[in-house]
C-alpha cells in the first residue's frame, strides 16, 4: 500500500508541477493528458469489454464542436462567426469567455453521453468485426457530414474563441488548459479505477469472456454495454472540448473526427500498453506520445510511414502490450496464483 501511495503522489506532483518544470512543453503535456483520457476510455470498450471500437472519435468531435459552438453561440451569431472565417471581428470579454466555456464544456460532456445512450442500443448489438467497421464508418461519416454543414464552418472548419487579451500573463492560457486536461486525466483515472473494482468491471470482463454465457447467467448485457459507452462518451466529449481550445482551430476530418489519426491512436495506445489492464493504456499513451513526437521531429515527411510500421510491429509482434508482457513474466503481481506443480511442469517443458 505504501508503494502505491508514493507512486500516485509522485505522479500527481509531476502533473501539478509539470507546467513549471517544462514550460516549453506545456502544450505537448496537455496533448499527452488528452491522449491518456482517449486511451483509457477506449479500453473500457476494447480491453475490458472486448468490443474493439474505432468510433469513440465520434464523441471527441461532437464534444469539440459543441463546446466551441456553445461558447460562440451564447454571445455572437454562429453563422456570422464561421462566415468571417478567422478574421477576428468578434472578441469575447473575460466573463463571456469563461461563462461560455463552462457551459460549453458541460454540454460537451453531456451531449455525447446522450447520443451514446440513444444509438447504443442499435450499434452495441453488433459483434466483433462488424462492430469495429460499423463504428469506423460512423466516425468517418460524422466527419464528412460535419464537413458539409455550413453553420459550423463546413470543410474549412471553425476557429475557436480566442483567449481574452490582457487577462493574466501570456502563459496563463496554456497553463489553464494544461491544468484542465491534467485534471480531466486524473478524474478519468480515478473514476475508471473505481468502476473496474465494482460489479460493473466484473460484468464488462464477463461480456468480453463470453457474452452469451453472461446473458444466460442473467446479466442484462445491453444495459451495461450502453452504460460503459456512455461513460466513455462523457470523458471523450470533455477531452474533445478541451482539445478544440488547445488546438485553436477545428477542422472536421483532420482534427475533430480524425478517424485515421486519433481514432486509430486510441486503439494503438491501449494495445501498446496492454489492453484490459488499468495502467496499460496510460503507459501505452505515454510511450506512444514519445514515439510520435520523436517521429514528427526526426522523421518529418516520413512520419506516417514510421507510424504505419509501428502499428504493424505492435499488432503483429506485441499484441499483448507492455503490461501483458510484464504479466507473463511476473504473474504474482497481478494477483494470479501459480500452482507450484504447474510451474515446475512448465519449466521442464522448456
Amino acid at each position: 500500500m505504501n508503494k502505491n501511495t508514493i507512486l500516485y503522489a509522485g505522479l500527481i506532483i509531476f502533473g501539478l508541477a509539470g507546467a513549471f518544470i517544462f514550460p516549453a512543453y506545456k502544450l505537448q503535456l496537455s496533448f499527452l493528458y488528452i491522449l491518456i483520457v482517449l486511451a483509457m476510455t477506449w479500453d473500457v470498450q476494447g480491453g475490458q469489454m472486448g468490443y474493439n471500437t474505432f468510433g469513440n472519435i465520434l464523441f471527441f468531435g461532437i464534444g469539440m464542436y459543441i463546446c466551441s459552438s456553445v461558447q460562440i453561440g451564447m454571445f455572437f451569431d454562429l453563422a456570422e462567426w464561421t462566415y468571417a472565417g478567422g478574421e477576428k471581428t468578434f472578441v469575447h470579454t473575460v466573463p463571456q469567455f469563461f461563462q461560455g466555456f463552462t457551459v460549453g464544456l458541460i454540454l460537451a460532456g453531456i451531449v455525447p453521453t446522450l447520443i451514446a445512450g440513444i444509438i447504443g442500443y442499435g450499434i452495441l448489438g453488433l459483434r466483433g468485426h462488424y462492430f469495429a467497421i460499423c463504428t469506423l464508418a460512423l466516425g468517418i461519416a460524422a466527419g464528412e457530414i460535419a464537413g458539409g454543414i455550413e453553420l459550423i464552418g463546413a470543410g474549412q472548419g471553425m476557429t475557436v474563441p480566442v483567449w481574452p487579451k490582457d487577462f493574466g500573463s501570456n502563459e496563463l492560457s496554456s497553463e489553464f488548459f494544461y491544468y484542465l486536461s491534467f485534471g480531466l486525466a486524473v478524474v478519468t483515472f480515478i473514476v475508471l479505477k473505481w468502476a473496474y473494482s465494482t460489479r460493473f468491471g466484473l460484468v464488462l470482463n464477463a461480456i468480453r469472456d463470453n457474452e452469451d454465457k453472461a446473458e444466460s447467467m442473467g446479466i442484462y448485457t445491453m444495459r451495461y454495454k450502453i452504460i460503459g459507452w456512455m461513460v466513455s462518451a462523457f470523458f471523450v466529449g470533455l477531452a474533445g472540448g478541451l482539445m478544440g481550445h488547445i488546438n485553436g482551430y477545428i477542422e472536421p476530418t483532420e482534427i475533430a473526427f480524425a478517424g485515421p489519426t486519433f481514432g486509430v491512436f486510441m486503439v494503438l495506445m491501449a494495445i501498446l500498453g496492454g489492453k484490459g489492464t488499468l495502467w496499460g493504456p496510460l503507459i501505452g499513451a505515454v510511450i506512444f506520445h514519445l514515439f510520435k513526437e520523436g517521429f514528427w521531429t526526426y522523421f518529418l515527411g516520413w512520419q506516417y510511414v514510421a507510424l504505419g510500421v509501428l502499428i504493424v510491429v505492435i499488432v503483429v509482434y506485441f499484441p499483448e502490450g507492455l503490461m501483458g508482457w510484464i504479466r507473463e513474466k511476473y504473474p504474482e503481481k497481478f494477483g494470479e496464483v501459480i500452482d507450484e506443480a504447474d510451474r515446475k511442469a512448465q519449466v521442464e517443458l522448456k
Binding site: 474493439n52 442499435g122 450499434i123 448489438g125 453488433l126 459483434r127 466483433g128 468485426h129 462488424y130 469495429a132 467497421i133 460499423c134 469506423l136 464508418a137 460512423l138 468517418i140 461519416a141 464528412e144 457530414i145 464537413g147 458539409g148 463546413a154 470543410g155 485515421p260 486509430v264 486503439v267 494503438l268 494495445i271 515527411g301 516520413w302 506516417y304 510511414v305 507510424l307 504505419g308 510500421v309 509501428l310 502499428i311 504493424v312 499488432v315 503483429v316 499484441p319
Partner: protein
C-alpha cells in the same frame, strides 16, 4: 432536397447508368475482399490503397505515353507481385489470429502505403485520359463516356475469367478447398501457405484491374482509398461470402445509390452517404436478426 427528379428525369437516368457502371468496379473489388475473407479470414483495410496503386500503374503508363487501357493488362501482374510480397511480409503472421488483429495490421499498411504513394506520385488529383470519346444517348441528354463502358466491360470479363479459373484450375480448386476447411486441405496435400499467398495476390490483382479502370474513368488521389474499402466491405456483408451473383448485383445497387445521393444530396455528402449507408445496413441487419435471436458473427 430538390425535386430535380421530377423536373429532369433524364438526370436520374444518367445517374442510374453511371451507377451501374461504377458498380461493376465496386463489385470487382468486393469480390477480392470476399475471396480473402472467405479463404483467409482477414479483412483487408488496405484494399482501397491497392486499388489506388493499380490506378497509379495505369497513370504511370499514361505519363509514359502509352495508352492507359494497357494498364488493365499490366496492373494485375504488378499488383499480384505486390500482394504476394505484402503477404509474405506481414499478412502471413496475422492469418490464423483474431480478425481484429488483421484489421489493425492492414490499417497500418494502409497508412504506410498512403504516405508512400504521396511521396511517389505527389498529392495532386490526377486522371489518365483515355480519349475514348463519349456516347450520347436519348437526344444528347445522357452522356456516357466510352471509357466507362470500357471499364464496365473489363470488370465483367475479369470476373468471368476469375470464376472460370476458380472452377477449373488446380489452384482455384485448392483455394476453394482451403476456404472450406483449411486443415482438411492441408492433410490432403494442399500447400495452404502458397494458397494464402496466391489468394492475396489474386485479390491485389483484382484491385489492380479495378484501379486501372478507376484511373481512366475517375480521379486518383493517394488518400482516397478508404471509401473503396468501405464500399467493398458493405457489398460483401450484403451479399454474403461466396455468392458471386449477389456481389455483382449489390455492387451495382451500391453504385446506383451512390450516384443518386450525389445528385440529390450534393457531392460533398457523397462519401458521407456511403459510410452512413453502411451504418444503417448493419444496424437494420442487427435488429432483423435480433428478432430471430441471432447475431452477425
Amino acid at each position: 432536397m430538390d425535386f430535380l427528379i421530377f423536373q429532369a428525369p433524364m438526370l436520374m437516368v444518367q445517374a442510374t447508368m453511371d451507377g451501374l457502371i461504377i458498380g461493376t468496379i465496386f463489385a470487382l473489388v468486393a469480390y477480392g475482399m470476399a475471396l480473402q475473407w472467405g479463404v483467409m479470414n482477414i479483412i483487408n483495410i488496405a484494399q482501397g490503397e491497392l486499388v489506388i496503386m493499380g490506378g497509379y500503374v495505369g497513370y504511370g503508363l499514361y505519363v509514359l505515353g502509352i495508352h492507359p487501357a494497357f494498364g488493365v493488362v499490366l496492373a494485375p501482374f504488378i499488383m499480384y507481385c505486390v500482394g504476394w510480397g505484402l503477404y509474405k511480409l506481414v499478412i502471413n503472421k496475422v492469418v490464423d489470429r483474431d480478425l481484429f488483429i488483421s484489421i489493425l495490421a492492414t490499417f497500418g499498411i494502409s497508412i504506410l502505403s498512403q504516405q508512400l504513394m504521396n511521396f511517389a506520385f505527389g498529392a495532386d488529383v490526377v486522371v489518365a485520359n483515355s480519349n475514348f470519346g463519349t456516347l450520347m444517348l436519348f437526344d444528347n441528354s445522357v452522356t456516357l463516356p466510352k471509357s466507362k463502358l470500357f471499364s464496365a466491360g473489363v470488370c465483367i470479363i475479369s470476373a468471368i475469367i476469375l470464376v472460370i479459373y476458380m472452377k477449373k484450375s488446380k489452384l482455384g480448386r485448392a483455394i476453394r478447398a482451403t476456404a472450406q476447411n483449411a486443415r482438411a486441405a492441408k492433410i490432403l496435400g494442399v500447400d495452404t501457405e502458397k494458397v494464402y499467398a496466391a489468394t492475396f495476390g489474386i485479390n491485389a490483382a483484382l484491385c489492380g484491374i479495378a484501379g486501372a479502370c478507376v484511373a481512366m474513368t475517375f480521379t486518383l488521389h493517394p488518400y482516397t482509398g478508404l471509401p473503396y474499402t468501405v464500399r467493398s466491405f458493405m457489398i460483401v456483408i450484403i451479399a454474403g461470402l461466396g455468392n458471386l451473383p449477389a456481389v455483382a448485383v449489390s455492387g451495382m445497387g451500391l453504385g446506383v445509390f451512390e450516384e443518386w445521393s450525389d445528385y440529390l444530396l450534393g457531392t460533398e455528402f457523397r462519401i458521407a452517404a456511403v459510410f452512413s449507408l453502411l451504418v444503417i445496413i448493419l444496424v437494420w441487419r442487427r435488429f432483423k436478426l435480433a428478432r430471430k435471436r441471432e447475431y452477425l458473427k
